[in-house]
């Protein structure tokens, strides 16, 4: 069953495995530093995150070995089964899950809490890869688009219901996979534009613009719609000579934007309740709340900024260790890196991720099977999205959205899920020659 030529252990990509090992160890060291206190007795103190993380790392290692031992065709063949199974878990969590911090996203099985949303990505990645390879999908066909939307949409909807906005947003990363497999690049640009418009709408609807010479005020969202209409008219007027060619996309874009603004505004104000609104505002840092998310990001920047060039030294951090930074061993673990290891440390971590991503892209591109390639891109996209949002959040370039930094953040579900994703791909890559092109 194993490779016909050469040995699996020679064919496995050891650079990736080395990067994985290094990052997991660095992650644990930082979790230890973040939760370190003098009174702790042992590394295996299971009341402490670093103690538990040792257990999670051990089991993740076992999981990795098991994944490597399983026949690579298994993943392809059982892709839909996986996807279905995890989707069922997502339904289960809505019914019997435990609520933590306002979202119902945890399943407690035999004393261990797991977060199905972390694993659902895996099923989605497998299912998408399987669909593309089996159906010889072509993104020019409507059917392919629809199937892709369905495969990705099911978990998105289920996770939204928890609600867990962070995990939901991670599914946006599949856009990169679809782009690689033929989706128009304009969709990516539109997506970014729509996201920006969404955020702008939420800002605008909070303000009121007084109308000159009258005593009335204009709601910000109407003002925004007027601006969009004005911009579109201006463009049409400026390029009057070519109006034949451009009126269609411009008018479409303008109408689409206006509908989006109105829709966001309507849902936000008429459908959402106050707690939802506060959550979104908080997540995006629109309303600065010294005790809320604005405070968190400010503290996070202080911690990282105070590290300086070489850092304060291992276990010498004050901001992370003494709880100024919230969630310092999970979502804000990068602060510990920044505070204790300084600019040298943060740059090293970013470079490690860069090498990992580029290596994964390189490996994905060398796959003969479309299944392996699509899956590879799914892995790199998911990792990259986590990296982008998590690090961006801690240094003030992204809104505060609580998702873990792969291999670094404390947490069993996320570590397992990242390990499964990575090692499944390593397995696929190691056996790539067995596949007939």
């Amino acid at each position: 069953m194993q490779s016909q030529r050469g040995n699996f252990w020679q064919d496995a990509d050891w650079l990736i495995i080395l990067l994985y090992t290094v990052m997991v160890i660095m992650g644990w060291l930082n979790i230890y530093a973040a939760d370190f206190n003098e009174s702790a007795t042992s590394l295996f103190d299971f009341s402490q995150n670093y103690g538990k993380q040792i257990a999670w790392i051990g089991t993740a290692g076992i999981l990795a070995v098991v994944i490597l031992l399983v026949d690579s065709r298994f993943y392809d063949n059982f892709a839909y089964i996986f996807h279905g199974f995890f989707s069922l878990l997502l339904i289960a969590v809505l019914i019997v899950g435990s609520e933590i911090k306002g979202s119902q996203s945890w399943l407690v099985i035999g004393g261990i809490s797991i977060q199905p949303a972390e694993f659902a990505k895996y099923g989605t990645a497998l299912a998408l890869a399987h669909y593309f390879s089996a159906q010889n999908a072509d993104f020019k066909k409507l059917k392919t688009k629809l199937y892709s939307i369905v495969i990705i949409g099911i978990p998105v909807l289920l996770i939204m219901l928890q609600p867990d906005p962070g995990s939901t947003l991670v599914y946006a990363s599949f856009a990169l996979v679809l782009y690689r497999e033929g989706m128009s690049g304009n969709v990516l640009l539109l997506g970014v534009a729509a996201a920006l418009l969404f955020v702008i709408t939420l800002f605008m609807e909070l303000i009121e613009i007084p109308i000159p010479l009258t005593s009335t005020v204009l709601q910000g969202e109407y003002f925004l719609i007027l601006i969009i209409a004005g911009l579109a008219s201006a463009v049409l007027l400026l390029f009057k000579k070519r109006i034949k060619y451009i009126w269609k996309p411009i008018v479409t874009a303008a109408l689409f934007s206006m509908v989006l603004v109105a829709g966001v505004n309507f849902i936000f104000n008429e459908v959402f309740e106050d707690r939802h609104r506060n959550r979104v505002h908080g997540l995006l840092g629109i309303i600065s709340d010294p005790q809320g998310t604005g405070y968190n990001q400010h503290q996070s920047k202080i911690a990282i900024g105070s590290g300086g060039f070489t850092g304060k030294g291992y276990l010498q951090g004050t901001q992370t260790k003494f709880d100024f930074v919230p969630e310092q061993s999970t979502d804000f673990i990068f602060c510990t890196v920044g505070e204790e290891w300084g600019f040298l440390g943060t740059t090293l971590v970013i470079l490690l991720f860069m090498v990992l991503f580029w290596r994964l892209i390189y490996l994905a591109e060398r796959q003969r099977s479309r299944f392996a390639r699509v899956f590879g891109y799914a892995v790199v996209s998911i990792f990259f999205f986590h990296f982008l949002v998590n690090v961006g959040m801690t240094i003030g370039l992204a809104p505060v959205i609580g998702i873990p930094l792969p291999f670094f953040s404390y947490g069993g579900s996320s570590l397992w899920s990242f390990t499964i994703l990575l090692f499944t791909f390593i397995k696929l890559d190691a056996t790539r020659r067995n596949v007939l092109a």
């Binding site: 900024g305 010498q316 004050t318 100024f324 991503f357 892209i361 994905a364």
Partner: protein
């Protein structure tokens, strides 16, 4: 099967772009902008001042005069105070009123919401115990350890002086001070402030987000231990000082006792005195106001160093010495007691120097002073007087009179010895002569002295012609005596002229008919001279100087008792008791009783 591997490169480029963006942002965050370092330190580090222990005061025998007791400042961080606390219970615990509580909170809030400031100052250790136990119920409040002066003998307040909170000017002028610090504002506390205060230290602690201390920062690498202030080994004799204060109860005046062979001040009593412990701790302000405003006797005023009196008859001894050295008289010179020129008392008619001093003959010294002022150098009596006064003035100043003694106690007055320019200003140059200024001859007129100068004069007599600047500190810490106190100051009078004068002073105390018989001791030869300071509206002040024993003197004393009449009646016996106490350790109970019962303060009120 490769669909479009350019897209792989585009994706890799997007990832690379984001990575670079993050590194650039981190470079600005961590390397370029150092404001985060400051923010972090402000949040996570607490700089706790370590107050140095202030130097301790010992007396010359090693007994404690002043030391430090633990006390606590109750600090408040308004931003952390729970608005739901039981204010009444809290006020009860701390011992303040609710109005006081509100006022203090407002004051603290106006200073800073997040920085701590003093809520209640200098709570003594015994009161703090209970407060500390219950303080956990009141978040935002904590104790800051400070030290409180304590004076175990409740004595020598005027010498030691007192402390006061630093003023904004002090803080501006000297970076060693911070708001809430204490500084010596009088006495030795003031003159030795720089050595007593020591140097503050600092402890850098880490605090967590709840402001709870999490340990020492960098294992105390940045901590600075406070340097304790140096101890002062004073020249005072605690027992003698206490005894002097006891004798001066219910009297206004002063006692100064000096060891002649060193210039060390053994006792300095200013009466009425106050308990130095009153000006310490929580009741300091109230007590201070009481002492300053509501006490007409002005107990904070140091009469021994700041009250200027006319020297009276004691000055005749100075006149005698100056005249002898100028050879205008000798020991056997006699003058008639011509009471037509100036009044006199007693049954003498034609004394020599010894008799004149013993009987304090006014006409005798009128003649002596006339000879000193009119020495016949110039034919014009005006020019002659001007010249004579200039010579005389120089002589008198060499006795430490009319000059400021460069002592280590602040604010000693210099008194006054008139000179040519003084009378020129008053009458015009060469428009005055001996007849204008003759009251100086018997220590009246324009002369002014302070009691410590008179004690120093007694020391000069004891030393036969020189003095050491009277001082109050023998050693600072492990150091030796300061050089300026080891320097002999010689008078202009040759030491050979002292013996006949001392002989007379012996007679004043020990011979029948002497004016200071009450200072006599059986076993010790006391030499002294009485004085009576005349006042226009109030009874005379009683004054006396003495030293003993006559040979190898160990103590020189000046005693002033205001409004007690003739110098021999009260000042002399007090001096006698002080000398006896110091030299023998014993006292004469009968004499003592008479002094203790004498009351010159409540006299008027009793009569009313």
């Amino acid at each position: 099967m490769k669909a479009d591997d350019k897209r792989g490169i585009i994706i890799a480029a997007i990832i690379g772009f984001i990575g670079s963006l993050f590194i650039v942002k981190l470079f600005f965050l961590q390397v370029v902008d150092d404001s985060f370092k400051t923010s972090a330190d402000n949040q996570a580090l607490r700089y706790v001042t370590q107050y140095p222990a202030r130097g301790i005061f010992y007396d010359r025998t090693g007994k404690l005069l002043a030391y430090n007791e633990a006390a606590y400042d109750l600090m408040v961080t308004p931003g952390l105070v729970d608005t739901e606390i039981d204010t009444v219970a809290f006020c009860d615990l701390v011992g303040i009123s609710v109005e006081h509580f509100i006022a203090r909170m407002n004051k603290a809030r106006s200073y800073s919401k997040y920085r701590s400031s003093v809520f209640e100052k200098q709570i003594a250790a015994e009161d703090w115990g209970e407060i500390a136990q219950k303080l956990f119920k009141y978040p935002g409040f904590f104790g800051q350890k400070r030290a409180l002066r304590h004076y175990p003998a409740s004595s020598a307040a005027h010498v030691m002086g007192y402390l006061s909170e630093v003023s904004p000017v002090d803080i501006k002028n000297d970076s060693a001070y911070q708001k809430g610090d204490y500084i010596g504002v009088s006495g030795l506390e003031r003159s030795y402030e720089k050595v007593l205060r020591g140097e503050r230290g600092v402890k850098v602690l880490m605090v967590d987000v709840h402001n709870a201390v999490k340990g020492s920062y960098k294992n105390g690498e940045l901590d600075v231990m406070p340097t304790p202030g140096k101890n002062l080994y004073t020249t005072l004799d605690r027992d003698l000082q206490l005894y002097g204060e006891r004798l001066m109860k219910n009297k206004k005046g002063s006692i100064v006792a000096i060891e002649p062979e060193t210039g060390e001040v053994l006792a300095l009593v200013s009466s009425p005195a106050y308990n130095p412990n009153f000006l310490v701790g929580r009741n300091r302000t109230a007590n201070f106001i009481q002492l300053v405003r509501n006490d007409t006797l002005d107990p904070l005023f140091n009469r021994a160093t700041k009250a200027v009196y006319r020297p009276g008859s004691i000055f005749k001894v100075v006149q005698a010495l100056v005249a002898l050295d100028n050879e205008v008289i000798n020991a056997s010179t006699r003058f008639h007691c011509n009471r037509g020129i100036i009044a006199c008392h007693g049954s003498h008619t034609y004394d020599d120097l010894r008799g004149a001093i013993q009987h304090s003959c006014n006409p005798y010294f009128w003649n002596v002073y006339k000879k000193l002022i009119e020495m016949g150098e110039y034919s014009s009596k005006f020019k002659d007087s001007a010249h004579g006064l200039t010579v005389w003035n120089e002589y008198v100043k060499s006795f430490g009179l009319g000059v400021q003694l460069n002592s280590d106690l602040e604010g000693i007055k210099s008194g006054f010895v008139p000179d040519k320019s003084f009378y020129d200003k008053w009458y015009g140059e060469y428009r005055w002569a001996f007849s204008t200024i003759y009251s100086n001859s018997i220590g009246e007129g324009e002369l002014g002295v302070v009691p410590i100068q008179m004690a120093n004069f007694a020391a000069i007599l004891a030393n036969r012609g020189f003095y050491y600047t009277p001082h109050f500190v023998r050693a600072i810490g492990d150091g030796n005596k300061q050089e300026r106190f080891k320097k002999k100051h010689f008078t202009m009078v040759d030491s050979t002229y002292f013996e006949p004068v001392i002989d007379a002073l012996d007679a004043v105390v020990n011979e029948p008919g002497g004016t200071a018989r009450r200072a006599r001791l059986d076993s010790i030869t006391v030499c002294g001279k009485t004085g009576t300071v005349q006042n226009k509206n109030t009874p005379d002040h009683s004054a006396f100087i003495a030293f003993a024993p006559r040979e190898n003197p160990k103590i020189a004393v000046s005693v002033y008792v205001e409004e007690a009449g003739f110098g021999g009646t009260f000042a002399a016996p007090i001096a006698g008791l002080m000398i006896q106490k110091y030299l023998t350790g014993e006292t004469n109970a009968a004499k003592e009783k008479r002094i203790l019962e004498a009351d010159f303060i409540h006299l008027n009120t009793k009569e009313e």
